[in-house]
């Protein structure tokens, strides 16, 4: 039980997917302008990554590994993720048009969000079983959401400031991300 909690905390805080492993940087920098949109994207990412980790883990354990096709994992995983994103998109369009409208073009981008594929591959690499994979996926996605919502909060403050021209746009966001990353490094001191 303790090890399962450690997987979640490790994924969310200590090895934060964005600030420590640099996965999902594109959407982290691109969709963090408004708090609401980032929170919705975070929700979608939690949903997609958790399901993708579960499906990828089952596929690997019961199809790829027994058939000796472990080397096919990159191809299979990316296709499964692409299909999943499509399903989530259709589901949201039907069930909650408001969220769908808020996310707009960002939802299909989850396919190219390397965090999703990254988590699925890391789970296999670490030899996690089904439950561990799901929890690791969930923890990682929570970490992503935490980071993107925090950055959105910081950016809404930066937005009001009068910055030197060369710093406007991407550079100042990256500097904010660097400071957040330094803060998150503190978590590696957690005695676990």
């Amino acid at each position: 039980m303790k090890s399962l909690i450690l997987i979640i905390i490790g994924g969310a805080l200590i090895n934060n997917v964005v600030l420590n492993q640099f996965l999902g940087i594109c959407s982290f920098l691109g969709v963090s302008k408004q708090m609401k949109a980032s929170a919705s994207l975070g929700g979608a990412v939690i949903f997609v990554i958790t399901i993708a980790s579960a499906v990828a883990s089952l596929l690997y354990d019961f199809v790829l590994a027994p058939l000796g096709m472990a080397f096919m994992k990159t191809i299979i995983f990316i296709l499964v993720i692409a299909a999943l994103v499509q399903i989530v998109e259709m589901f949201l369009k039907k069930k909650s048009p408001a969220v769908y409208k808020a996310l707009g073009i960002y939802l299909p981008l989850i396919t190219t969000n390397c965090a999703v594929l990254g988590v699925a591959l890391t789970n296999v690499q670490n030899g996690y079983n089904f439950i561990e994979s799901v929890l690791a996926g969930f923890g990682t996605a929570v970490g992503f959401t935490l980071a993107i919502v925090l950055l959105a909060g910081i950016r809404s403050r930066i937005h009001e400031e009068d910055l030197p021209a060369p710093l406007r746009g991407a550079p100042i966001v990256m500097i904010a991300a660097a400071l957040m990353s330094i803060a998150f490094m503190g978590f590696s001191g957690l005695a676990l």
Binding site: F22, G24, I25, C26, C114, P166, A170
Partner: protein
């Protein structure tokens, strides 16, 4: 630039450098630039995949139906990445160890799908290969440069050889994750300050949003903001 094949190389290396000008493929740039040698390893493996994927996609450009082109590209790229991964594991185990998870993640590197969509599916195989070489080397150079800066500042070495005098204490933070953000931010600040327009800026001004890459989100968002500002005035 009369020769259009040479022009492709110039385009990839300088004019539309994928990392510094197009701002694509940020994840591997930030992640593996802790050492200059890692930059070369990652850059060259991406280059290999990019050249081959451009070639295959260009050869198949009349065969693949338009509606299913993206899934087809992803399958092609993923197969090529798997081949590269297995070859590296067999022949370059030390590089494979150092780059780890970022090798299979070449699949989702925006540069590769971006070039397939923006160039290879409209041009001849030879031109597409030259485009792949130019873009790949442009990526490699940017990665190695970032790696070199981080390695010198954070570790006092360049390509593993000591360059800073031993008495100078290296600034460890530069080889840690925060250093990646700082170094790339400074690169972009320098480019902005000396007036090189990143393509993102150009696209925002021209009011187009091509490609289907994550960078597009950035473009669209800035475009809306510019429009809002214009509306206020």
């Amino acid at each position: 630039m009369k020769n259009k094949y040479i022009e492709r190389l110039y385009n990839g290396l300088i004019k539309e450098n994928p990392t510094l000008v197009l701002m694509l493929g940020m994840c591997p740039t930030l992640a593996v630039s802790t050492r200059a040698a890692n930059g070369i390893g990652m850059g060259l493996s991406t280059t290999a995949v990019l050249i081959l994927s451009n070639l295959v996609i260009s050869l198949l450009r009349k065969v693949i139906p338009d509606q299913v082109r993206l899934p087809s590209y992803i399958v092609i790229v993923a197969s090529l990445v798997t081949v590269t991964e297995l070859l590296m594991e067999a022949y370059l185990p030390s590089v494979f160890e150092a780059l780890g998870i970022y090798i299979p993640l070449i699949v989702v590197n925006c540069i590769i799908l971006g070039r397939a969509e923006a160039y290879a599916n409209k041009h001849t195989p030879l031109l597409s290969v030259m485009d792949g070489i130019g873009m790949g080397l442009g990526f490699t150079i940017a990665l190695t440069l970032a790696g070199l800066v981080r390695e010198v500042l954070g570790n006092g070495t360049a390509f593993g050889a000591q360059v800073l005098p031993e008495e100078i204490e290296p600034i460890g933070i530069f080889v840690q994750p925060p250093g990646a953000f700082i170094v790339i931010a400074v690169f972009i600040i320098i480019m902005n300050a000396i007036g090189i327009k990143t393509r993102q800026r150009k696209l925002v001004e021209q009011d187009v949003c091509d490609g289907n890459c994550a960078s597009c989100a950035l473009i669209c968002e800035e475009k809306n903001e510019l429009k809002e500002e214009a509306a206020k005035e």
